[in-house]
Amino acid sequence: MLRPLLSLLLGGTLLLGMAVPVGVTALAGLVLPEQAGGSLIRREGQVIGSALVGQDFQGDRWFQGRPSATSAAPYDASSSAASQLGPTSAALLEAITTRLVGARDVPADAVTASGSGLDPHISVENAREQIPRVAAARNLPAERIFAILERSIEGRELGLLGEPRVNVLRLNLALEAVR
């Protein structure tokens, strides 16, 4: 029994834990380098983020992502986290009430923390509600911002899966390109 046990365990570790993953990594780096490397977005040679990972936007000039519960700072990508607060948690209700600042009928994704803390997207309604603020801060007509936003809406995948949404980083990059 010892020979099959040791050969399968150690052989398995070498094959499944080293040879194959290293081989897959090498091949992925060759044929899918962009995706395998984290779908990074570069501007003038500098990495400004990943298309898949949300980042923190505080200023009025930017469309803002969802509330993030990552611990050190919002959208801390080195430590993904959700609030993990329960549905009857008083702390959660208080956090949501604070984010609402008295407004009614606010899109849910604008005032609830995402599950990853790194949600790159917001809902289309959430984005539209931010248009007046962004337009005012940028001194641009709202129609102009609206048009940029409409072009940034990503539909359901394969026309069916998921939800229509807006990638906040890409939208803000498109805004920056207008200047």
């Binding site: 365990l9 993953p21 897959v24 992925a28 995706q35 949300g54 990508a77 549905p87 959660l92 899966l161």
Partner: protein, 565 residues
């Protein structure tokens, strides 16, 4: 709930069912040693390992080989985790994993639970992820499927003492199903945006001028086997919610398909091997029925939203979005949650802790029903067969005949062992969760007050004993008490269950398959499917109702009354 949401659910489940047909055929072929052109490779590998596939093992030797292999796997993984600071491929210079956590984690991955009391990107070196955790993702899954092969053979044959060869089963399942499947799926995931690199991280300068450290790693390959092997342990702390582990709705859909396709396929393989495809389809139908009902319940509860938040001013249109990301949508979150808990996978694409009380009750209850709907790879099928034996026994009692299943007489020994297996789960869950809720070492770990706190603890032990591994994340699980007790719950749920099951298999294998008589209860039609569903609900679920009433049900009532804690 929307029509388009239901169309998403139908498409994904439909793809899984279609894919389960060829996988089921291939599983049956492997179990019967019909390897086609792979036979020469198989012979060569087994010769090197010193295995004679033709030499069958009685149930005791099969069990012993399985236990020894898993024990050795535990020791190797424990050592790797403890020593990761001095081993190579540790670009972030993480410390060695402390003893209690390493004990818990090693047990967790060896038992196919993949409960994680750590957050991957801040604790695990690339070597630990690849050579430690990923390897056990394969081997624990292959162990489960091998055990299912042994149990199916007991039903398929008559008057034999041998259940097959564990080493040959393990090797074939790993090399000829899990490995090629995982490589294919890995490339699909990488194409969708999942990283696969040995780089540790990249630092970005954000648009606002801040700094963002984006962690990378060999994620794609581990992600593929994590779902295909119903393991569920994430590379990152937030599992399949992480944009790199669940980059799109398409990726989450593929994950759903992967985590049910082998459990579904094993039902069909069972039908083929016992010579009556209908028998396998009946089991599959029961599993599908529960998955659909659970998906409906979760979808409805989450789409309705949280009345406390709606009253505060949140629009009800999107439903409950706390702990969810926008890209998946509620329909796929509901289907993912129902299948990941039904299938003993344990990955998450939405945070269960922040679900509405009833939305959180469903995954909890699905695990408590015994992880057979459709259950983990292998373990789901043999768990389901235990319930099938109990169902024919109950039917036999009703009409006063000796019960039989597939021509095998089900007698006192089998029924006693089946009940023993079924009782392991509630004993571990209710016993240890109860203990942790009265001891301060346990309650100190709770985050939420009120009934939700009770649910967090109940969920942890349910997930561990059910070998699921998903979590109500509010619980602080990395304490000596919880690391130890949850570790024992995982052990009981895996091996405490499997030992009586293999004993049943040994005793059934020896019995002849008698031809059907006039009084035989047909076990392939809707009557039996209904009976089986009833037995699962009553024998598997009833004992949890008091605990559920104190947890999620009480919380639901409190929420409706406008109370927060």
């Amino acid at each position: 709930m929307t029509m388009i949401g239901w169309a998403q659910i139908a498409l994904v489940l439909g793809c899984a069912l279609v894919l389960a047909v060829p996988i089921g055929a291939w599983l049956a072929a492997m179990a019967q040693g019909r390897l086609g052109p792979l036979a020469r490779l198989d012979t060569a590998v087994l010769r090197v390992a010193g295995v004679d596939a033709a030499r069958g093992q009685a149930w005791q030797s099969y069990l012993l080989a399985m236990l020894a292999f898993n024990a050795a796997g535990f020791v190797l993984l424990y050592a790797l985790l403890r020593l990761q600071d001095v081993l190579p491929l540790n670009p972030q210079s993480f410390d060695g994993i402390p003893p209690y956590l390493a004990f818990n984690t090693a047990l967790s991955f060896v038992t196919n639970t993949n409960w994680q009391a750590y957050s991957g990107e801040v604790a695990m070196s690339h070597l630990s992820q690849m050579a430690g955790l990923t390897v056990q993702n394969f081997l624990s899954a292959a162990t489960g499927i091998a055990l299912a092969f042994a149990v199916i053979r007991a039903f398929a044959a008559g008057g034999v003492t041998q259940l097959g060869n564990f080493w040959a089963d393990l090797t074939r399942v790993t090399l000829f199903l899990l490995l090629p499947g995982a490589v294919l799926a890995a490339f699909a995931f990488i194409a969708m945006g999942v990283p696969q690199t040995l780089e540790a991280s990249v630092t970005a300068t954000t648009l606002e001028g801040g700094e963002q450290v984006i962690p990378l790693g060999p994620v794609g390959f581990q992600l593929a086997i994590k779902h295909l092997g119903t393991n569920g342990g994430g590379f990152f702390g937030v599992n399949s919610l992480h944009p790199f582990e669940g980059p799109s709705a398409l990726a989450t859909s593929l994950q759903i398909i992967l985590q049910v396709v082998i459990p579904f396929g094993l039902c069909l393989a069972f039908g083929r091997m016992v010579g009556d495809a209908q028998q396998g389809r009946a089991l599959l139908a029961v599993m599908l029925g529960f998955v659909l009902a659970a998906t409906l319940a979760i979808y409805a509860a989450e789409a309705a939203g949280n009345p406390l938040h709606i009253a505060a001013g949140v629009s009800p249109t999107q439903g409950n979005m706390e702990g969810k990301d926008v890209r998946f949508g509620l329909a796929l979150a509901a289907l993912f949650t129902a299948t990941t808990t039904g299938a003993s996978c344990g990955a998450v694409n939405a945070m269960l802790d922040s679900f509405t009380p009833l939305g959180g009750l469903v995954p909890l209850f699905l695990i408590q029903l015994g992880e057979v709907l459709p259950g983990g790879v292998g373990s789901g099928l043999y768990g389901m067969l235990v319930f099938a034996l109990l169902a024919v026994f109950v039917a036999g009692l009703m009409v006063g005949r000796t019960p039989e299943y597939l021509g095998k007489k089900v007698q006192a020994r089998e029924v006693k062992l089946a009940m023993l297996a079924v009782l392991v789960l509630p004993a571990a869950i209710l016993g240890l969760a109860g203990l942790s809720l009265v001891l301060e070492v346990g309650t100190a770990s709770l985050q939420d007050a009120g009934p939700h706190g009770l649910t967090e603890m109940l969920y942890a032990f349910t997930s561990a004993a059910g070998n699921n591994g998903s979590a109500f994340g509010g619980l602080t699980a990395d304490t000596p008490w919880l690391n130890t007790t949850l570790g024992f719950a995982m052990l009981a749920g895996r091996f405490g269950f499997v030992i009586p099951v293999l004993a049943i298999a040994g005793s059934l294998a020896a019995k002849p398959r008698a031809p059907e008589g006039a009084g035989t209860l047909p076990t392939h039609g809707p009557l039996f499917a209904g009976l089986l569903a009833g037995v699962i609900l009553i024998l598997g679920g009833l004992q949890y109702l008091p605990a559920l009433a104190l947890g999620p049900i009480a919380e639901h009532v409190a929420m409706l009354a406008g109370q927060s804690f």
